[in-house]
């Protein structure tokens, strides 16, 4: 007999189910328990892992900044300055180093960090004199603002 249209009971069947499953399982191979082998459990774990890594990428920045601040605080306490005093006086002296670089200097360049702490301490003393002296003493050297054109 002549068949003009395809039979309706023939459906297309998946032939690459194995590779679709492997795409998910490859991210779960280092997990613990049955979720590194069984697809149904692995799908859930892999989804949670992706979502957690997405959110963690935003929190990594906060975490690293807190770490840098802790390290700078420890290093400046070694030189007799507290962290808020150190940072505020560095900013007032127009030294625009960020916390990442300050933490690296504190670890790898101790002499440079000591000079920065001394600079902050000097600017702090000049600030105190300016506040308590009521304008009768001459202005401090490190309090002068540098203008660039």
């Amino acid at each position: 007999m002549v068949v003009l249209s395809a039979a309706r009971w023939v459906r297309s069947r998946l032939s690459d189910r194995f590779w679709r499953v492997q795409e998910v399982l490859k991210y779960a191979r280092h997990f613990r328990g049955r979720k590194n082998r069984c697809y149904k459990l692995a799908v859930r774990s892999v989804r949670r892992a992706f979502v957690k890594s997405t959110k963690a990428r935003r929190e990594k920045k906060r975490f690293l900044r807190a770490l840098w601040i802790t390290r700078i605080e420890a290093a400046s306490l070694e030189h007799g300055l507290k962290y808020p005093a150190f940072i505020s006086n560095l900013v007032k002296s127009q030294v625009e180093l960020n916390r990442k670089v300050l933490a690296d200097l504190a670890i790898y360049e101790p002499k440079t960090f000591k000079s920065l702490a001394a600079l902050a301490q000097r600017r702090r003393q000049e600030g105190f004199l300016a506040a308590l002296g009521d304008g009768k003493e001459p202005e401090g050297i490190f309090s002068r603002i540098v203008h660039h054109h």
Partner: protein
């Protein structure tokens, strides 16, 4: 009423005269005032050096010495803090930097980084406020590689809401090699 007010005024005048006389009589003994916890402030008294003298010392001693060291070349490895691609990097010569963006320079181009915040050697550090002059420091780098990052998975999922989105992101990256950091003895 008037009499009472006059008497009180007279009494206050008498009291003021007594007080005045008593202060006059105790002025030769002013140096023997007792040292209490409130005579001096609780913070340590700090005497800063005289600005004129300090400027002279700075110009003569410090600047001359550092200029001498720089012109004699008596420094070892130099490190610099450079502001580049909206980030600050602590770099030395011959080290690699990877940044998460596209640079409009071809591979092999030589780049000069102009925003230098700090330059240091073993014996001295030059701190910029906030930047150091372009005639003082020269930092050169070469573009080595322009690639993409590893494919990062960005996934959002709300439970019980049938909502999940998965996106694979590969950021463009550039790798630079810092060739040299040079300083010139033009401090003042």
């Amino acid at each position: 009423m008037a009499a009472a007010r006059a008497r009180r005024a007279g009494a206050s005048l008498l009291w003021a005269a007594v007080r005045h006389r008593s202060s006059q009589s105790s002025s030769p003994q002013a140096g023997l005032v007792a040292r209490t916890s409130l005579t001096s402030p609780p913070w340590p008294e700090v005497k800063l050096p005289d600005p004129v003298e300090e400027a002279k010392y700075h110009a003569a001693e410090v600047v001359r010495k550092v200029n001498g060291l720089i012109s004699a070349g008596q420094y070892g490895r130099l490190f610099a803090v450079v502001h580049f691609a909206s980030k600050q990097w602590k770099i030395t010569s011959e080290d690699l930097i990877m940044m998460d963006n596209v640079l409009e320079a071809e591979c092999g181009d030589r780049i000069r980084m102009e925003k230098v915040l700090l330059v240091g050697a073993d014996d001295f550090t030059l701190i910029g406020r906030p930047l150091l002059g372009k005639d003082l420091v020269r930092v050169e780098a070469t573009v080595i590689e322009k690639t993409e990052s590893w494919p990062k998975v960005n996934m959002r999922f709300w439970r019980r809401h049938n909502f999940q989105r998965k996106k694979i992101i590969a950021n463009p990256q550039t790798i630079l090699r810092i060739n040299t950091i040079e300083i010139y003895p033009c401090l003042s």
